[in-house]
């Protein structure tokens, strides 16, 4: 598979997942509406609340993340080598120059954030800049710039709005069960069935939604790998950078579960390798990414 068809299939897969997600939410709404007898009015309220919460976190996400990870903005004179790589590749990608941040940590890693290319931030650890060669560094920065160019931050925010919505709906549903439990409305047997399905869904749906979110996240990593290579025209650079990053045993202290999905390679370095735990990974396995890169 060449790079172009790789990008197309990744885009398509992301959209298929988002469409399935919407179908999933509609089904939940239908079941809850039937079960409570309220119809769709409570779904509307849940939508508005989750929309507001997600919009605020989306708008300020970059500031929160940068604050949490202890990153500092740099000028060109602070680190000309790293700054130039970002400058050159954003020219190649046709993006405005993003803000450049550095985390003072010897674990090699990098991330990009910002709600659109005009408010984008590229951040790398000092470990990444010191341990990688110029070509490997280019590969990593190209991957991060591709996240910006592909509007991954926006896609992931839309998905997290949907996940938040599912969780809120489940919560609302369970609460409305407690309060309307013994009011003697005329419940037909049809409603009882929906009630049972509704409770099962309320328990399972937040988990399912999170799994969908993580699988979108993994798809976007593959996409950023492929379109990053389109910028550097040199897959081996990113492949060997990923090898170096993954063989580095040091965990990144500044990262936590909330920010892990942003980094080029999962900063948490968990040891478990079970198929079930891999469902909860934010990143695809590095060996698979390297294999695909080497086949380009």
């Amino acid at each position: 598979m060449n790079i172009y068809s790789q990008i197309n299939s990744n885009k398509l897969k992301t959209w298929i997942i988002i469409v399935l997600f919407i179908v999933f939410i509609t089904t939940i709404l239908y079941v809850y509406g039937k079960a409570t007898g309220y119809g769709l009015s409570f779904a509307g309220i849940a939508l508005i609340i989750s929309g507001i919460i997600s919009f605020v976190s989306y708008y300020y996400s970059d500031k929160m993340i940068l604050g949490m990870s202890g990153a500092k903005q740099i000028k060109k004179s602070d680190n000309p080598k790293f700054f130039r790589v970002v400058e050159n590749l954003s020219i190649a990608a046709g993006l405005p120059m993003p803000k450049v941040y550095i985390i003072n940590d010897s674990a090699p890693n990098a991330f990009a954030t910002g709600r659109d290319p005009k408010h984008a931030v590229i951040c790398a650890t000092t470990g990444l800049i010191d341990k990688l060669t110029d070509i490997e560094l280019e590969g990593v920065i190209a991957h991060e710039l591709s996240h910006i160019k592909n509007f991954d931050i926006r896609v992931m925010s839309i998905v997290s709005i949907l996940v938040g919505l599912v969780a809120l709906l489940a919560d609302f549903f369970m609460r409305s069960m407690w309060y309307s439990g013994d009011s003697d409305r005329n419940k037909g047997s049809g409603q009882t069935i929906f009630l049972a399905i509704g409770i099962a869904l309320a328990i399972l749906s937040p988990i399912i939604a999170t799994l969908i979110q993580l699988s979108v996240s993994r798809k976007r990593e593959f996409l950023a790998d492929a379109s990053g290579v389109l910028l550097t025209r040199y897959p081996e650079g990113l492949a060997s950078a990923l090898e170096k990053i993954s063989s580095d045993k040091e965990p990144l202290e500044a990262a936590n579960n909330a920010t892990a999905h942003l980094y080029i390679s999962s900063p948490l370095k968990n040891i478990k390798k079970h198929w079930f735990s891999s469902l909860f990974n934010t990143h695809p396995p590095i060996q698979e990414r390297i294999k695909i890169l080497r086949s380009m």
């Binding site: 130039r84 050159n88 590749l89 020219i91 990608a93 046709g94 910028l231």
Partner: protein
Amino acid sequence: MDFSLILIGVAVLTALYIWSVYNGLATNKVRIREALSGIDVQFKRRVDLIPNLIETVKGYAKHEKGIFENVTKARSQLLKAETPHDKAQSDNMLTGALKTLFAISENYPTLRASENFKALQEELEDTENKIAYSRQFYNTNVKDYNTTLANFPSGFFGRLFGFAPEEFFEADNAEKKPIKVAF
């Protein structure tokens, strides 16, 4: 009645398709122009660095007149160039002339040691890289645009609206030959 509805549906879809082809091509064309001006920004930076470079080198190597002339000539040609093709060609000339200049500077240790010269050399190298990257961006856009024009049926409608394929930012084949090194 059903048949006419289908006809209307088909007509609306076709109109939507043509509209999107037109908009896509028009957007691409704007992007190509923008990318070209991106290359020009880097050219301008490079051209602005050269008088300074020549002054610095002159201070140490006065009698290398031929080289200064070559560089100045290539520089003014780049300033005059209009089409992407001409620009690419005169940029290549300039690169060649600068290469000779830097090769000759090896003979002047005091020049090589000068901070000013080192800084200029680094700046020029950086500009050269940036030119390469902005060229790549330009060519990517041209490729997208030309692909739409080459495909059917988008290309058919595109040509109907007067869109013509754009030129890649490339030098002539003759200039791609490896440079002969004579000692």
